[in-house]
Amino acid sequence: MAASGAEAALLVDVSDLPVGHTRRLEAEGRELLLCHTPEGFFAVADRCTHMAFSLSGGRLEGCLLECPLHGARFDVRDGSVRARPAHRPLATFPVRVSGARAEIRLDRSTSA
């Protein structure tokens, strides 16, 4: 993993991240969760918008990520809430994959 300050991007080796799994990342003071879904890689903020609990212990099913505390669900493609009790969407970060490397743009997140 390497953070490039100029472009505020994070480079991650994803060769050992199978579909259905997530990886927690920290860079530039942010906590992210990189999610490998059947539709590709997506990165979201690793804090549930309901009680700020880390989502990293939750299950990723398809593109839905579940908070392991109350069971709120988010669509990691756009951060939208798919099951309560959360109301506000998760911040998302653009991901570009090239081979075994994923580039996560920290400077272009959607605002939560």
């Binding site: 009680m51 212990g57 939750g58 299950r59 099913e61 579940e66 392991p68 505390l69 069971g71």
Partner: protein
């Protein structure tokens, strides 16, 4: 009847149950339509029987949970850090809020969305906000999640709301000896659908509890099954029938011949070249069994040596009291679970699990689907057969509506419907305060 030869090593016992004498009285239709009868079931039946609540495979890691809804109850099944599976009422002990939505997932702890009380995976209350403000004592162990009896067999998780219930294996009676050779623990789920149907849960159980309806409901299948010679066994609480497949019914004009669909569907799907098959009708089933055992078994990673030819070809059909129907086809199975509506005797939830024994393969677990019954609903399960279920579904609301007719007197059952009579006897035992054993 089907049991030519001797029992295979580790296989299902071949003996038949003694013939059950259950009389010939009509079954009152009110058992299906009356709110009072449904209330009796809620009070005396559902809280006292072992219920199939989930798949152990869905609870692979510590924290994995799934819920089971039965009537007004919701039960939380949770894989523990030590590997055990435990069950709790899915309700916060503070103000009664549901802890988790119906479904499955992974938790690190269970937090209530109302006041934030938090419970560990083992049900212990970990945190209550401002605990010192409860003058009756700080919420602690005494307010841990309410446990539910939970045991496992066959890759399934079972619960019983009665803390004093007999152990699961005792309740299941002969079933583990009969069904262990199929190795359900190696089966994976290919389809997972709930269909909400406007009928009583027993109307749905009955619809699959006999082969007498095949000629009327599924006449287009008589070229591939024998709906006439169907052995029935009534065990203590549970029952079985064996429906021979890949043979044309004695009612069918091509009885005794290898019909086109036997050739194209049964032989071909087992991997036997239908064009090259030169045998007669009696050679079909051994050929299928041989191919399943010798070719499909290794491909699936499954050892079928404990199953005899009939078990690898036919539908071994078990009703696990009160609400599970198993159609077992050797390498695969269709499991139906019939759940009552919390209050309305005219509604129920039909759960359909399509199972395949393929331990060599990691098959993707399908997401659960929920459907409202409509006449054009065809489930299209992996491996086919959706039109069969659609034919049964078509009947169910109409049976329920017809039973409410003032011109209908009650169920007039024949010998081929003996299992329905047995089913009602076992229900009666529970409603009378008994434990469902008929001594049969």
């Amino acid at each position: 009847v089907t049991a030519a030869g001797s029992q295979r090593r580790g296989g299902t016992p071949l003996g038949r149950a003694p013939a059950a004498d259950l009389g010939s009285a009509p079954i009152p239709k009110e058992r299906y339509t009356s709110a009072g009868f449904a209330r009796l079931e809620r009070e005396r039946l559902w809280p006292r029987v072992w219920l199939l609540a989930g798949l152990e495979r869905d609870l692979a890691q510590p924290g994995d949970y799934s819920t089971f809804e039965i009537g007004a109850e919701s039960v939380l099944l949770v894989r523990q850090r030590g590997g055990d599976v435990r069950a709790f009422h899915n309700v916060c002990m503070h103000r009664g809020n549901r802890l988790r939505e119906p479904g499955s997932g992974r938790a690190v702890r269970f937090a209530c969305a109302y006041h934030g009380w938090q419970y560990d995976l083992d049900g212990r209350l970990l945190e209550a906000l401002d605990a010192h403000t409860f003058p009756q004592g700080c919420p602690g162990e005494a307010l841990s999640l309410s446990p539910v009896r939970c045991e496992r067999w066959g890759g399934f998780v079972w619960v019983n709301l009665d803390p004093g219930a007999v152990p699961l294996r005792e309740y299941l009676g002969v079933l583990p000896a009969h069904l262990d050779p199929y190795h359900f623990e190696e089966m994976q789920i290919l389809d997972d659908v709930t269909v909400e149907i406007p009928c009583n849960w027993k109307t749905s159980v009955d619809a699959f509890n006999e082969a007498y309806h095949i000629a009327g409901t599924h006449p287009d299948t008589l070229d591939v099954n024998d709906d006439v010679n169907v052995p029935i066994d009534c065990y203590e609480r549970h029952t079985r029938m064996i429906l021979k497949l890949a043979v044309a019914s004695p009612r069918h004009p091509e009885h005794g011949r290898v019909t086109e669909r036997i050739r194209e569907h049964f032989l071909a799907s087992a991997g036997v070249d239908p064009a090259g098959f030169r045998g007669g009708a009696e050679d079909v089933r051994p050929a299928i069994a041989k191919a399943v055992r010798e070719v499909q078994g290794p491909a699936l990673g499954a050892d079928f040596s404990q199953l005899d030819d009939s078990q690898l070809v036919d539908d071994y059909h078990y009703t696990v009291f009160p609400n599970v129907t198993l159609n077992i086809f050797g390498r695969s199975a269709w499991l139906f679970r019939h759940r009552p509506h919390p209050s309305d005797p005219d509604r129920m939830y039909f759960d359909f699990w399509n199972l395949l024994r393929a331990p060599a393969h990691q098959l993707p677990r399908p997401a659960h689907r929920h459907e409202l019954l409509r006449d054009d609903l065809v489930l299209e399960p992996v491996g086919g057969g959706g039109e069969l279920l659609a034919q049964d579904f078509y009947n169910l609301p109409r049976i329920q509506a017809g039973m409410r007719s003032s011109g209908f007197r009650g169920l007039h059952l024949g010998d081929q419907e003996l299992r329905i009579r047995h089913f009602h006897r076992v229900i009666d035992s529970y409603l009378a305060g008994g434990d469902g054993s008929l001594g049969g």
